[in-house]
Amino acid sequence: MLIASSTFATAASNETKESARRNSKVENRRARFEFPVSSFEPLMASFDQTAAFPRTGAIQSATGAGAWVTIREAFWIAVEALRAHKLRTFLTLLGVVIATATLIVVMSLINGMNLYIADHIANLGANVFIVHRYQWAQGYEAWLKARRRNKPILIEEFEYLRDNLKDYRNIGAEAEIQNINTYARFQSHTVYFVDIAGVTPNMIDIGMQKVESGRYITQPDYDHESLVCFIGQDLVNSFFPNVDPLNKEVLVDGIPFRVVGVAEKIGSTFGESQDNFVQIPLTTYQKFFSPRPSLEVNVQAWDAEQMMRLEDQTRALLRARRHVPYREDDTFGINASDTIMQTWHQITGAVFGVTIGIVAVFMLVGGIVIMNIMLASVTERTHEIGIRKSLGARRRDILMQFVIEASVMAGIGGGMGLLAAVLVSELVNLIVGPGFFNASIPVSAILVGLVLSTGVGLFFGIYPASQAAKLDPIEALRTEN
């Protein structure tokens, strides 16, 4: 169509000179059309034909900027047509609205979770990886299998790694009590479900913890199996709201420990406070709670690149020591921020894949509804199409009009979906509360939502629009609505 009309324009401009020559003659002839001065004078002046037939200018304006004018017209026709049928438009758009809303809500939830996981769970410390019985954040099946095969990391293995790994920055170990019926008591106050952990003194340099007052567990504490502890903010709030906690004696599962330090507040993860803990020397832990505890060995590397090499070294050393046969999986887990994020992304990727499928179905249905209503609209407006064609609308003008109408309609649906998504994610944040993750709508979701919905309208608008463009002007004019 474009090619045809542009060749026509060139052909027409070839005729320009010819018609210009003719026009000058016409003007000479027009001199004969002098009329007597009458009361029509001003009216007649405006009828005067000397300014008629501005053929050169007219042909030029058919190219270039012209397309933009008709697109703008099509846009306003679309808005007018949609305003004339508000309810019908809304009902038509429901599919697209739901599809866009679903897409954006899921994207914002995943985005919020990603930020949360990266912040709270995968935040192990700078260049730190943790050797543990299990690989964290893996699927349920894999975990069941690991539960059968994997063995705890023992003190000997920690010492073996400490002595045989090369050129690490730090290596520490931590053991947590598995029994959940733990408590801590100070005078008449009791706090239940306290996390009791035995640590090596260097854990303060490796993890994300910071000392607020007092000190951490030291090497002498460790060597002498001292009864000292380092406590979290929850215990401070319960036991020592107005008193300095240092050097007070706290009963931990019935054993008296002297408080030597207090940790800075951490906050909560998935609604569970991370400040409800007591840390004691690992040696003391072994003596009173568990002689052969399952350890989390924290290895800190000098930089990210070296961390990869250290992970490989650790794996090789542990496999050799445990005699894991070649081709068999590790009987332990090596957990680092990036591997946790990777597994997490696998999970969210699956969720997202399902979402894409659902959204695609919604969009398909929504698109077909739009196509249906556009076909009805073309039938309804056959006469209008006839009028427009008689006034010089080309096929592509009519095509454009209906394609743009479908796109604008679907785009509005996308906008409504976006609005719904904003409401839903605000609601989620309100219900889950500020302690948990925040669903935040990423800009990419907004773009994808709007572009996708408009695209669906465009695609499903093409068929009805081509039906409209194909209409014969005579037939269309004859149709009465």
Partner: protein, 246 residues
């Protein structure tokens, strides 16, 4: 555009002289009704119309005058024969090229007005300019000017259903005028109006003719045709009589 063969360049030689705005040369319109039955709506119509003429085409229903009107209005192409409009060999053009010619060279006035119901008078008049790609400000000026010519400037923001029949037809005339067409093609322009309003509309056509416009009137009423200076009588797809009056 169709490729130019030897025959075409022969036709080029027959380009009508300057004063002739319409040249119909042996126009045929044939409809295939299947099973080799052919109906000739037009069988070999030829005539010339000069610039500035006021011509009425008359004929009973079924005479082929509607078909002729559609051909002259570039809404349709002839099965056979050549049709020149203002120097363009229209009978050879494609759909979009015909649309272009309709936009630039022809102003339609219909019996049923054919205005867009939801658009104001002004927007209705603007339509042809929109399809010729004119920028908004220029378009508005021209549309207003055109409405002023038919004495409707003060009602230009009204929608068709807020206007009387005569006013609607004047909006349609303003719309036909706005692109300065070579010919104005009026199909029973008074058919839906009472006789007083009909006379008023015919008065507008009269003034337009005096101002130099070429007007083609299709009608079956003798009173209306009498306003023209030349009447072409059509019957059974042929020109029966071509008379000049006054």
């Amino acid at each position: 555009m169709a490729t130019r063969t030897g025959a075409d360049s022969l036709r080029e030689l027959q380009i009508p002289p300057d004063g002739v705005i319409i040249k119909a040369d042996d126009l045929w319109k044939t409809y295939d009704m299947g099973e080799a039955i052919q109906v000739h709506a037009l069988s070999g119509v030829s005539f010339d119309i000069d610039r500035g003429e006021y011509v009425a085409i008359m004929g009973p229903s079924g005479s082929g005058k509607s078909t002729l009107m559609n051909l002259l209005g570039c809404l349709d192409t002839p099965t056979r024969g050549n049709y020149w409009l203002n120097g363009h060999l229209v009978s050879e053009l494609s759909d979009d090229e015909l649309a272009y010619i309709r936009n630039k060279e022809i102003g339609f006035v219909f019996q049923t007005f054919n205005l867009l119901a939801r658009a104001s008078a002004l927007h209705n008049v603007e339509l042809p300019l929109i399809y010729s790609g004119m920028p908004a400000r220029e378009r508005l000026e021209k549309a207003e000017e055109s409405l002023r010519k038919v004495d409707l400037a003060e009602r230009m923001h009204h929608k068709p259903n807020e206007l009387s029949g005569g006013q609607r037809q004047r909006v349609a005339i303003a719309r036909a005028l706005v692109n300065n067409p070579s010919i104005m093609l009026a199909d029973e322009p008074t058919g839906n109006l009472d006789s007083a309003t009909g006379e008023e509309i015919m008065g507008v056509f009269g003034r337009l003719h005096e101002a130099g416009h070429t007007i083609l009137l299709v009608t079956h009423e003798h009173d209306i045709a009498a306003h023209a200076h030349r009447i072409i009588h059509v019957r059974d797809g042929r020109i029966e009589r071509d008379e000049r009056i006054g």
